[in-house]
Structures are given as C-alpha cells and as structure tokens.
C-alpha cells in the first residue's frame, strides 16, 4: 500500500484520482461521473419518449392522415404514411416503458441522488463504488435491449408482419396478452421476451443502486450530520431506495414467471381453454391472469412513489433555499415521506378495482388509498408554509419547484376520484387516468428533474445556466403541460378509452359516435403537446450552450446552506479534498435572526439554531 497517507488532523485516507479517459469518464467508480451518466441516459431516453408521444398525438388528433415523414421513419409499419394499429401500440408501449423506467427511475435517484447524496452527507463517495458503476452499465444495457425490442421486426419485409414493431401490450404488459406469444398479437413473441429481459436487467441494476444508497446513508454520514439534520433530498433518496429494494424484486419475480410461460411451457398466467387466433391452446392451463396484475402493481405502485419522492425532497430543498426560509415543518415532512413510502405498499389494488378481484379487497384498498392523500396534503401545506413570508428569489430552479407544487396539486388531487371504487367504475381505463398520472409523473416529477438540473448544473459543470432561457422554458412548459393534461380529465369523463388508435375520425365517420364531439379538444391537446415538446429544445440549447460557454460558477452561487455548496464547482475527485466536513446545524437555516448573512451553512461552526435540531 504505497499510497497510504497517514492521517493528520481533520484528514481522512485519500484515494488517488483515476487517470485515463476510460477510467475517468466511461468505467468510472466516481459517484459524480456515474450520476452524470445516469442523467445523460435519462436525457437521451426522454427525447425518444417525447418523440414517440409526438407521433401518437399526431395520430390521435388527425386519424387517418398521411404523413410523409412517417413513411420514411417506419417504411413497413407506416408504409402508406399512416400509423397502423400495431405501430401505435408499439409506440405506446415503448413510450411508457422508456419514460417510467429509463427517465423517472434513473435521473431523480440514479442521477441526482448518486451525485449529491454522498456530498450532502459529507462522504467521499458511495459505500460501494464498483457496484455503483455496475448498476449504471447494467441500466445502459437494459436500455439497449429495450430499444432492440422495438426493432424486432423493423427490417422484416414480410407481408404478414408488415405492421409490426416491438411489443404491443403497454408498459403494464398484462397477461395473457403478454404471455401467449405471437398468436395473441404481433410483436408479442420476441418483442415481449426482449422487453422482459430489459426490465429484468433494470431490476437488478436498481437493486444494486438501492443497496448502495441505503448503506451509504446509514453508514457514511459526516460528524455532526445526525438524521434530523439531513437535507430533505437525502430523506427522499433514502426512502426511495427502500421502496426500490422491496418492490423491484417483485417485478423481477413477475418477469421470471412470464418468461417461463413463454419459454418453458409453464402456466403461471395462462388459464385453460384459451382460444387464440382460431386455435385452442392445449399446452397451458390453470394460470391466473390476475396474478400478473397483483405482482406487477405490488411493484407498480411503490414505483410511482419512487418516481415522485426525489422530486418532493428536491422541491422542499429548493423552495427553502430560494424563499430564504427554513422548511416549514421539517419533521412533519420527514414523517410524511415515510408515511407515503409505507402506505405505498398497501394500495396496489386500486389499479385493479375493475380487474375481477374480490370486491371486498377493493374496498380495503380504496380506504387505504384515500389515506395516502393525507401525507401528500401535509407536504403541500408545508410547501405553501415554506413560501409564506419568504423573500423569494425567482431563479429557474425555483420556478420549476413552484411549478412542481402546482402540478402535484393538480395531478394528486384527481386521485381522490380514482381512489374511490364507485367513481373508478366509469373512469378506469379512460383518459382521466392518463391525465392523472401524466400530471403527477410525466410532469410534476419531470419538473423535479428540471429543478434539479437548473439548481445543480453550476455545481456539476462549473458553469451557470442562462437564466433568460430558463424562465422562458419554464413559462412555456408550465402553461403547455396544463393545456395538455387538464383537458384529458374531461375527455375521460366523457368516456374516452385508453390505448385507442383513434376514437372518432371526423372525415370518415368511423369510431365511437359518443365521442364525435371530442375532436376540437383532442386537437387542442395535440397542438399543446407539439408546442410543449418544442419548448424543450430551449432547455436542450441552454444545456449545451451553458456547458460550453456558460459563465463560471462560484462554489455557492445560490447562497445555499447544504454541504455541496462548500466545495468547488465542479468538485474534486474525492469531494472534500481529504478534509472530513463537520456539521453543526440543520440544513435550512435561512434568515436566522441576528446572523450576519441571510443564510448559515451547515458546516459553519457555532451553536446550532435556537428552534430546530
């Protein structure tokens, strides 16, 4: 051990920085590099997902219309310039899978969490840096496998499969549609196998990540960083990791069972007397399609909290920072995070009220579901309380955090409708649900990611982002997403069903007559979507331009208090340059009466604040 450094006062054992491009930027064990890798993966994935949704909105708004560019992109599946049913479902499946897994479950946790959890707790890296690196690369592999699922039949010029691209069962992959193979639908054979493989890999990667987060938070906090002095971001990442640890294995189990039904002739999900494509299926019997739903949603519900909790932690953190006020009710916020995490394991059945499961358990699930609204409401009140009486600085991250609160209210509150069994009857599987989950996941959680990017970009890359572009991006996006998703609730109430290629074609008079007056609303939503997606280019331009030519960032451009703002922007390899930080107070000491500045950093020596911990 020639590189051993004997410790002196305040120092810890230092590991030398890696050298060479590959070790520094590709196969790096540095949590900061891995965080950026996850974040880049999510950025790439989100643009693919948005592009697919653009095509879907084009189809929904103008069914049957021919588009030249589609013929170029999908020479077989859109051979005459219109989207086929199979292509639409395939886009839908990929959109959901990519967005939920590779965007919402990567950047907030694997991206920002990886980068900032160790720093915010005062550690030099994650507990298991090599596992951390593996978890990124397995995630990357999973994305490649998923993309290959989409191209399963892309190059096949077989007239019988001419419209096929990838699996068509939605990101929820309900059995037996997903278990019966090609005879149940094109793309449901190899496409589904690749899809399951991708998800299984993703499960493993997430589990490794969760392991790291939990161990790091429990074991590697700096001196003085007691649990009640942790930034709320850390609490959110920790709880998210616990949720991931306990829910992803269930998805893995479901995936294994589905794989066996495909490959080994088992019948976990396939009942008897299946008559598919004109043939009776003899080799399967006795399975339960509802079992798939139970397993999937037991994972699926905690998954949506995995998607939103980091955003909630970050919103609390950013609102406090830029309102120059402590978080209102820090302890309540922590308990609310726990409550949401814990209750999140008991409500999965609310996705299944209509599934044919026992109506008694439906009632139980419904009652618990509505109680989960309580900690969410508490968090909303506390966010408002944090803003109240503040001295708000309207920077880009702050705007997106404010937007998060608004969108969380809009998206979350419609859960009150869907969580009641009676009201779910007309609303299940309609656009009402689509509006609900997009507002909360596809927008609020994304706003969390935007807020995190604008907030931490200076720290990560050493450059400031352009504020003007940030504000424009916010205004357009905030207005746009509301224009897209609020109308969907009304459309769902009118009975507009999900996952339909189109509902009403005004030109040909085909479709569902009771939805014949939806066209103006549908087109409004589609146009809002195009504008909003276009507005994201502003964000992209801002990222690239700022990274290349942005104004140099100081250590603490936002005058914030947590530990990441005590180190250079960007940080050195081992974060704290060999000095172990010491924490003297909680993370939200803003506007402390009598203090010389309107913020007191966590690491600033002195007595802890009067009120908090």
């Amino acid at each position: 051990m020639s590189d051993v450094v004997h410790p002196v006062h305040g120092e810890v054992h230092r590991h030398p920085a890696p050298t060479g491009f590959i070790r520094k930027y590709v196969f790096s064990t540095d949590h900061k590099v891995i965080g950026i890798q996850y974040w880049c993966l999510a950025l790439f994935a989100v643009f693919i997902g948005m592009f697919f949704s653009l095509i879907m909105r084009l189809q929904l708004g103008w069914p049957g219309q021919e588009w030249g560019f589609l013929k170029t992109l999908f020479p077989h599946a859109a051979a005459n310039g219109t989207i086929s049913g199979e292509l639409y479902l395939s886009l839908l499946t990929m959109h959901g899978t990519i967005m939920v897994f590779f965007v919402l479950t990567t950047a907030p946790q694997g991206g920002f969490g990886n980068y900032f959890l160790p720093i915010q707790i005062g550690a030099a890296d994650m507990a298991f840096p090599v596992l951390n690196m593996m978890s990124f690369w397995i995630t990357f592999l999973a994305l490649l496998v998923l993309i290959s699922a989409f191209f399963v039949n892309f190059f096949v010029d077989d007239p019988n499969m001419v419209n096929v691209i990838g699996p068509i069962g939605g990101w929820t992959g309900y059995a037996p549609l997903s278990a019966l193979g090609d005879r149940a639908g094109p793309g449901q054979g190899t496409g589904v196998l690749l899809w399951i493989t991708s998800i299984a890999l993703f499960c493993v990667a997430s589990l490794l990540g969760a392991l790291n987060f939990i161990t790091t938070m429990l074991n590697m906090r700096a001196r003085g960083m007691s649990l009640m002095r942790l930034p709320l971001t850390c609490w959110a990442w920790f709880t998210t990791a616990v949720l991931a640890l306990l829910s992803f294995p269930v998805l893995l189990a479901a995936g294994i069972l589905l794989l066996l039904d495909h490959l080994a002739g088992t019948s976990f999900f396939i009942p008897g007397n299946e008559y598919v494509s004109g043939q009776l299926v003899k080799e399967h019997s006795g399975g339960s399609p509802i079992l798939w739903q139970h397993l999937f949603w037991f994972f699926g519900h905690p998954e949506v909290y995995i998607a939103i909790l980091p955003g909630m932690g970050l919103t609390s953190h950013i609102l406090s920072t830029f309102a120059r006020k402590p978080v209102f009710g820090y302890r309540a916020m922590v308990y609310a995070i726990f409550a949401i995490g814990l209750l999140g394991f008991f409500v999965w059945g609310h996705h299944m009220f209509i599934s044919g499961m026992s109506p008694y358990s439906a009632i139980a699930f419904s009652l618990i579901t509505l109680t989960i609204g309580v900690p969410s409401a508490i968090k909303t009140f506390n966010w408002l309380g944090t803003l109240w009486g503040g001295q708000i600085r309207f920077t880009s991250p702050m705007l997106f955090a404010i937007g998060f609160v608004s969108l969380f209210v809009s998206g979350g509150i419609t859960g009150l409708f869907l969580g009641q069994t009676s009201i779910d009857i007309p609303l299940h599987d309609t656009s009402f649900v689509v509006g609900h989950f997009h507002l909360i996941m596809g927008v609020a959680a994304i706003f969390g990611m935007f807020a995190g990017t604008y907030f931490w970009f200076p720290k990560m890359f050493g450059k400031m982002m352009n504020e003007g572009l940030g504000k424009l991006h916010f205004l357009l996006t905030f207005a746009g997403v509301n224009a897209i998703f609020i109308p969907m609730h009304i459309m769902g109430m009118a009975g507009q069903t999900r996952r339909y290629l189109f509902h009403w074609n005004p030109t040909t008079g085909e479709g569902l007559h009771y939805l014949s007056n939806m066209t103006p609303l549908t087109r409004f939503v589609s146009i809002a979507a195009f504008v909003t997606i276009g507005a994201q280019l502003i964000f992209l331009v801002n990222l690239v331009w700022s990274w290349a030519k942005g104004r140099k960032a100081s250590d603490n451009p936002w005058e914030a208090t947590s530990l990441e703002w005590t180190i250079p922007s960007p940080p050195p390899h081992d974060n704290f340059a060999g000095i172990e930080p010491e924490v003297y107070r909680g993370p939200y000491e803003y506007s402390v009466p009598g203090a010389s500045k309107d913020y007191v950093m966590q690491s600033e020596p002195g007595p802890a604040e009067v009120h908090g911990d």
Partner: protein, 232 residues
C-alpha cells in the same frame, strides 16, 4: 475508554466505532500495541468498512427475501383452494429423497462455516483453512445434490411445465441454487485466500459477511423445502 483520538485525528466515527476489535484492541488506535488485528498503515476509515459491508449484506438479503416472498405468494395463489387455486392440475410432486441429504449437507455447512469464523477470530489459521474448505466442498455437494434431484424427476418425466407444483419446484430450487452458487463463489475466493495465507483484515470481513449470506441461504432452503413439500 475515552475516545480522545476521535478529536485528535478528526475521524468520523461511523457505526460501531469505539467498539474494540475482535482481539480486544482499540480500533481507533492504529499501530498501537493493542491493535493486533489491524495491519500497519490502516486508518480508522477502515473501521467504518466492516460496518458498511455488513449493512450492505443485510440490505441485499432483504431484497432477496422479497423475491422469494413474491414467488411464495404466487405459489399460494396457485395452490390454495381458498384463493381459487389448488385445482386438479396442481399435482404436487413426490419429494426426491436426495433432498433430505441436501438439507442435511447445508445445515452441516452452516455449522462448519461458524467453526471457520471462530477459528479465524482466534487466529487459528490452519483450523480456519480446514473448516472453510469443508464448507466450500459441502456447498458444492449441495448443488450437485440438487442437480441429482432434478435428474431423478426428469427420469420420471416430471419437468418444469408438467404441473404447477413442478413448475414452482424447478423455479424455486434453481433460483435458490443460483444464489447459493454466488455464495459458493465467495467461499471459494475466501478458501483460496486462506490457502495462500493471505488473510488480512479485509478478508476477515469477507468471511463474516459471507457467513451471514450463507446462513441466510441455508434458512431460505429450509423454508423452501418446507413450502414445497409440507405446505401443499
């Protein structure tokens, strides 16, 4: 003993810091006469390390447990009449007798790994080598025994897709076997290190953590054995 060194060298405590090492030495005094456990040049940052591996292992075990719990729930749904299962096609398989032997092998291996750990704590290196080698061999024997059980069933024409119960049998035993194989690989690593007399501080930790994993795999097997053959 007062931890004056904590402020002296400003090292973060980490969980478990301040507790004496296995040989009774003060873990925060590197190079001191008491710290027979620790190699020279070691710092107390390394004191945090055994804790993190131990925590990490418990966390990993929690997720493995969840995997088997979800498969158990699938098993119950499929096999219990009250939940709509247990139909005529459930057809539980007859237990291949070799599984009793395998169970015994695994139980003995848990005991032997404990003996190995204790030997290492007392620095009785040759005893340690013996016990750890035995454990590794027993682990391999278990896996071989599982394969034998599978072959017996296959010879009777019972495969993974024969009946629901056989599906679960093959699935659960192969998943368990896969995880156990991971444990055997870890054991092999430790055994080889023992053979080469390279049993530094970090590797002692590896032995402890591997033992934890091994006991879990043993317990899991007992549970699965019970589930498959006594709860059907």
């Amino acid at each position: 003993m007062a931890n004056t060194l904590t402020t002296d060298i400003g090292i973060k405590p980490g969980l478990g810091a301040g507790k004496p090492g296995p040989l009774g030495g003060d873990p925060l005094r590197p190079g001191s006469a008491d710290s027979k456990d620790w190699p020279p040049g070691w710092t107390s940052e390394d004191a945090a390390e055994p804790q993190k591996y131990r925590i990490g292992m418990w966390v990993a075990l929690a997720s493995i447990l969840m995997l088997f719990i979800s498969l158990t729930s699938a098993y119950i749904v499929r096999g219990v009449p009250a939940l709509g299962g247990g139909q005529d096609d459930w057809l539980p398989i007859d237990m291949p007798r070799v599984l009793w032997v395998n169970t015994a092998i695994l139980l003995v291996s848990s005991v032997s790994i404990e003996f190995a750990r204790h030997a290492l704590k007392r620095n009785e290196y040759s005893r340690f080598r013996g016990w750890i080698t035995l454990t590794t061999l027993l682990g391999v024997a278990f896996l071989v025994g599982q394969l034998m059980a599978w072959r017996q069933l296959a010879a009777q024409g019972v495969f993974i897709n024969s009946h629901p119960h056989s599906s679960f049998f093959y699935l659960l035993t192969s998943l368990h076997g896969l995880h156990l194989l991971g444990g055997v690989i870890a054991l092999t690593y430790v055994t080889v290190a023992a053979m080469r007399l390279r049993i530094g501080f970090k590797r002692r930790n590896a032995v402890n953590v591997t033992a934890l994993y091994w006991h879990f795999m043993d317990g899991l097997w007992i549970y699965l054995f019970g589930l498959l053959f006594f709860f059907r």
